[in-house]
Symmetry: C3
Subunit: 149 residues, 3 copies
């Protein structure tokens, strides 16, 4: 079936590509926000980073910086998995409607997770995290069934 | 050659998809186990996580939690690389037999690595880690040769 | 257009596969260098790693080891993103010239970033990091446009 193929003419693939880009751009915002936070609090990880920067210190335990880094690590635990399994899921030939909801829910959940982590609001952060896991796990199980059966 | 293509009708691709799913499900088990461990020892990473949870503390140095996190990070250093290079390797058109052994060895090694890390048994953990590297490196070199030559 | 497809006969795909392999091999060198550094300074992360190894200690704050680990984490924040978005970018059917420069700049920047991080030289490390981000972000935006429009 042509519509299960990897081509921008397949609307499911195009949607996967678009949502993947959004979620990657979100992750790169976290990268940038780490740098912004380091300059705001004047805390860096390497001695060479603070040279000639009066008032800047090398510390690995600043709570603001470490919060952004924990958020970023949570992204690393979830987003590459989504990117990899999402591509395989596209090839199982899902209905466009089902596929779109998988991508939308994941993308929205990860964006809201980022906000909730930075704002430090529970249980919203955990709910966003779990909501993002649902489409990822659903896709993983569907890929497993398509590949193993 | 059709059988080198990305389609569930290509048995090498189907096997790649199935083993990738298994290894991702294993990684999500580690995610869940981190949470279980945090609740068991009552140690969390953010102040908002312990609010209203009597006896829970914010600490970043609990040895049980950090062990699971080091294991998870080792997964992040190896599994996304396998997922990415495995897909490219499928497209080099390997024999089904050779490909299956690459996927099986990696998947088995990472599952056993997880067990060995949680159990804290050496040299088994290192052996599992190195065994998982072998198929990944082999696929990487084959993809490099197919792409560069 | 056949040349936008995922096949080693598409020179853009072949180049993507080759550069992806190079950047993965570079990342596995960092994995190996972590181990070399641990043995050199005699510092390991788990109690079972130092058993029977006289003079080795369990510490998580050795500056040499942590430098390699920070570098490795920076790889994890950038390389899987490149691998995922690069594949989607190949499918947008870019010109071979533009695509090659995206892959070359990323690969060279990440290799030089590794050297600059280990040598502790600023602002070279930051410049290499930012240089590697440029092709990744460029590809992400192009994939977003191809998928969303």
């Amino acid at each position: 079936m042509a519509s299960a193929g990897l081509s921008f003419e397949n609307p499911v693939f195009a949607a996967y590509a678009a949502y993947s880009s959004v979620v990657l751009l979100k992750m790169f915002c976290v990268t940038g926000y780490t740098t912004i936070t380091r300059f705001r609090v004047g805390v860096f990880a390497n001695p060479e980073d603070v040279k000639g920067n009066k008032g800047a210190k090398v510390r690995l335990d600043n709570s603001d910086v470490e919060r952004v880094r924990r958020l970023h690590r949570n992204d690393l635990e979830n987003i590459p998995a989504f990117l990899a399994v999402g591509l395989l899921y596209v090839m199982t030939g899902p209905s466009a409607g089902a596929a779109l909801w998988h991508f939308r829910v994941f993308t929205a959940a990860r964006c809201l997770h980022t906000v909730a982590y930075l704002a430090g609001v529970q249980p919203w952060r955990v709910l966003c995290f779990l909501t993002g896991l649902v489409p990822t796990l659903s896709m993983t199980v569907q890929v497993l069934m398509a590949g193993a059966l």
